[in-house]
């Protein structure tokens, strides 16, 4: 007969209550959000009475997890960036050149004189004057290679060396490129995160997507171009010796030298040595400041090795110009007046206050290992987000009311049971969304509305089945039991297939589509739960109290 064990009843109610408690904070969204922010601030040491008052708006013993609002609801900026991993190959090969040069020089007797040739970025091409010595030269250069260690053991060496006529060509090996790409993207991710944290916005999403891409979503920021200014700059700071100054954009440069433009003076170019004396990696601090003329500038300090290199170089080159280069543009090229031993200095240029502040942030957070290319940019204004939330709320309410009325009209008392379950169902969806910290997007709201419509399906299946069973006149209790039993396989098959599509959507989709998949998937789980447990429990409790001889469904 119709019976449900007490422990099962308790369990069902516990799940329902837990779900509703988890959903509760979302009903007081602004209040809970302020309280959460204030708590975080207090934890960081910002303990003021005002913060305490704000934190006290929501009791600490209640759950305080909220559903994150997606960019389309809150407004903000979205960027998809591809890391130009090839940039790193060039830097790596340039760094190898002195080593290769020294190794070959030691073999001058067999290989003759050596000369670096122009080559594609990411490869070194060296011409030797005695081709007979080629095999020896290759052997010497190959000895410079270091083996790559991976979890699977050694997988080869980091460089590939080959002969092309009288040239020795050195490139990174494929395995090393893969390893390097991965490192580059991970570094870039870390640095982007640090830069955004420096600016201090709430809940940014910074995720790696695929092998070379990074997805950045920052709610509340004004526009994607603002965001791009913070993360799009490589901020590669170097200090290079200046060879000469020219106004000729096509000036010839020797191997190991570079022609770079000046930031401030259009038409002025500097020829600098490609290998820097010190780089921004050796900075420990950078702060916006003002120079002695009161113009915005940036103060910096080197770590010990950086300070030593900087000190040694300034000692040896008094009177020579020295270029401060940011992302291949010369900020300034002051002449070294005296030995600078302390390892700190100041960068002056034609900065605005905002620019000097930004530059300091970028230098502190570190340089990006490679450039970024932006594949996707989206800016959503906060007003549009608010409009969408409002429209979504109204639509959900109306949809909800329409379904509730329709169910009550169609199934009477049983329809009311289904309606209670439907309300619990929505509560559970929000509870689960808050629990897993999911993000609610506009299609996500559509997913919930769709669930409202479809959630009753399981109940409809059961009620229709009970109607059918009543016709065969086995008595109401037996009819209810059979109704549940026989409808179960259809309910499960139908929902599992829909769930499969939700899972595929989640796996393949991104952004808003994923938000839709989450609410749809969770909606299926909760609606099956409420239909086969909650409504059943309600029906059984009612049946036990009333013991009706006849029921109408």
């Amino acid at each position: 007969m119709l019976q449900i064990d007490t422990w099962k009843r308790v369990l069902i109610w516990l799940v329902v209550v837990a779900g509703l408690l988890l959903a509760l904070p979302n009903a007081f969204y602004t209040r809970v959000e302020q309280s959460n922010d204030a708590r975080a601030a207090i934890e960081l040491g910002n303990d003021t009475p005002q913060m305490r008052a704000e934190a006290g708006q929501w009791p600490s013993w209640l759950p305080s997890g909220l559903v994150n609002l997606g960019l389309d609801l809150r407004g903000g900026a979205h960027l998809l960036a591809e890391v130009k991993v090839e940039d790193v190959y060039e830097v790596r090969m340039d760094a190898m050149w002195p080593e290769i040069r020294d190794a070959l020089r030691d073999q001058r007797a067999t290989v003759g004189t050596i000369r670096r040739q122009d080559s594609a970025p990411g490869e070194i091409r060296v011409r030797i004057s005695q081709p007979e010595g080629m095999s020896r030269a290759l052997q010497v250069v190959r000895e410079l290679a270091t083996p790559i260690q991976t979890l699977a053991g050694p997988t080869g060496t980091d460089i590939e060396v080959s002969a092309q006529g009288n040239d020795i060509v050195v490139t990174l090996s494929e395995a090393e490129k893969l390893a390097s790409d991965d490192r580059t993207v991970r570094q870039a991710l870390e640095i982007i995160r640090r830069r955004i944290d420096e600016v201090g916005t709430r809940e940014p999403t910074i995720q790696r997507q695929g092998p070379q891409r990074i997805l950045i979503q920052v709610p509340g920021i004004g526009s994607a171009s603002e965001l791009k200014e913070i993360i799009g700059t490589t901020a590669q700071l170097t200090f290079n010796p200046v060879v000469s100054r020219t106004t000729d954009a096509d000036a010839r440069v020797g191997p190991g030298e570079k022609l770079v433009p000046s930031i401030d003076e259009a038409g002025t170019f500097y020829i600098i040595e490609a290998a820097p004396v010190v780089t921004g990696e050796e900075l420990v601090d950078a702060q916006p400041a003002f120079d002695q003329n009161g113009r915005p500038a940036v103060n910096f300090r080197f770590n010990t090795t950086g300070a030593r290199k900087f000190g040694d170089y300034t000692l040896d080159n008094i009177g020579a110009p020295f270029a401060i280069v940011l992302d291949d543009e010369v900020i300034s090229a002051p002449v070294i007046q005296s030995h600078i031993p302390g390892g700190s200095g100041i960068i002056t240029g034609n900065f605005s206050v905002e620019e000097s502040t930004n530059l300091a942030v970028l230098l502190r957070a570190g340089a990006l290992p490679a450039g970024l290319e932006f594949l996707e940019e989206r800016t959503i204004g906060p007003e549009l987000g608010q409009d969408s939330i409002d429209a979504g709320k109204v639509a959900t309410m109306v949809a909800f009311a329409a379904v509730l009325v329709f169910m009550a009209l169609s199934y009477g008392l049983f329809g009311l049971f289904a309606n209670v379950a439907l309300i619990i169902n929505i509560g559970l969806i929000f509870g689960l969304l808050s629990l897993i910290g999911a993000t609610l997007t506009l299609p996500g709201i559509a997913g919930i509305v769709l669930t409202v419509g479809m959630a009753v399906d399981a109940n409809v299946l059961i009620f229709e089945r009970i109607r059918e069973e009543l016709k065969t006149a086995k008595g109401p209790a037996r009819a209810i039991e059979l109704g549940y039993e026989k409808a179960l396989s259809a309910i499960l098959d139908a929902n599992i297939t829909t769930f499969i599509t939700a899972v595929i959507l989640f796996a393949m989709g991104s952004g808003p589509v994923r938000g839709f998949a989450i609410t749809l998937g969770l909606g299926i789980l909760t609606s099956v739960f409420t239909a086969i447990f909650v409504t059943r429990l309600l029906v059984v409790i009612w049946f036990e109290r009333r013991r009706p001889k006849m029921i109408e469904v």
Binding site: I4, E82, V394, A395, T396, L442, M454, V460, V513, L520
Partner: protein
């Protein structure tokens, strides 16, 4: 006093002209495919790259003025559409600009957007950009690919699941219905030239899910009745099963449609295309579970001997107790 959309006992004959219904469905699919091949879809920037800008201003939108302001910038193909919506306030005039992907740029540069903004402000001083989205050609190509893979994967997974739980004839019938629904939906989008973007793919997959939901419920009853009426011709078993589940089919479609229609009317213009796809899908999906899925089943015939092995397979969940 109960609201009954479908009388208690129905005995409609759904299959007296099943060949005709299959023919009509096939014809509709051809028509949809023809429209798709002839007109093509009105792809949003997700799929073909470019920039969309949503503008808002207190002044009524005059597309000619907007276009005049932008012509000087020579940005190539620009579409300007005014958007109307009942949820807008009295002086909320919204337009959507779509600018083609620019030569040599992955995503739109800030300078291009700034140029457009200042050009438009020259013509309409209080204009504001509520949202700016731009997608590079590299990503948009991949997005199409992933979308197609997602739809194919979903249909494939469903084929396997139904094959395991029922028989291969059922799986084929269900998948034929799904393909029917997807093609008809794409056909409607190409015929009406509604913007087809990533969210529509989500809608397509939901249609797949919903249509399947319906088909599976009918099939579940067919399987049960095949066991019950061992000697009855398949056509009659199908008819009985569909009549028995008709009340449920209509109820669920109506509740879902009630929810979707309120979203269509009140949910704002941003998701209107998405909701339209789903409304269409629910209607087509309900039709196809009877007139395509079951008709295919009738055409293929089915194994009638549902003895032991499949008997337990069909009832493996029946012992779960609340």
């Amino acid at each position: 006093m109960r609201l009954k959309l479908v009388p208690q006992n129905t005995s409609f004959d759904f299959f007296s002209r099943w060949k005709l219904w299959l023919g009509i469905s096939a014809f509709m699919m051809l028509l949809a495919a023809g429209s798709f091949l002839y007109q093509g879809l009105n792809f949003g920037i997700d799929f073909r790259g470019g920039t969309t800008i949503r503008t808002e201003s207190a002044q009524p939108v005059d597309v000619g003025v907007y276009r005049g302001a932008l012509d000087a910038l020579e940005l190539g193909d620009i579409t300007i559409t005014e958007i109307f919506d009942p949820t807008f306030g009295p002086d909320q005039n919204v337009a959507m600009l779509r600018i083609q992907a620019q030569e040599g740029e992955e995503a739109a540069t800030a300078t291009m957007v700034a140029q457009v903004e200042s050009a438009l402000q020259g013509a309409v001083p209080d204009i504001e950009f509520v949202s700016v989205e731009s997608v590079g050609p590299k990503v948009s190509g991949e997005l199409i690919q992933t979308a197609v893979i997602a739809v194919v994967l979903a249909i494939g997974a469903v084929l396997v699941y139904i094959w395991l739980r029922f028989e291969w004839q059922f799986a084929l019938g269900a998948v034929a219905a799904l393909v029917h629904d997807v093609i008809l939906t794409i056909g409607v989008f190409s015929e009406l030239q509604i913007r087809f973007d990533l969210a529509i793919i989500a809608a397509l997959l939901t249609i797949v899910g919903y249509s399947l939901n319906d088909t599976v419920v009918v099939f579940d009853r067919v399987r049960e009745n095949l066991r019950k009426y061992k000697k009855t011709p398949l056509k009659d078993v199908l008819n009985v099963s569909i009549n028995e589940t008709l009340s449920r089919t209509v109820m669920t479609s109506v509740t879902t449609l009630l929810a979707l229609i309120s979203l269509y009317v009140l949910g704002g213009d941003v998701i209107r295309g998405f909701v339209f796809a789903m409304i269409w899908g629910v209607i087509v999906g309900t039709y196809s579970s009877v007139f395509v899925a079951s008709a295919i089943l009738l055409y293929l015939g089915v194994k009638r001997d549902w003895t032991k092995p499949s008997n337990t397979a069909g009832n493996q969940y029946a012992n779960i107790d609340a």
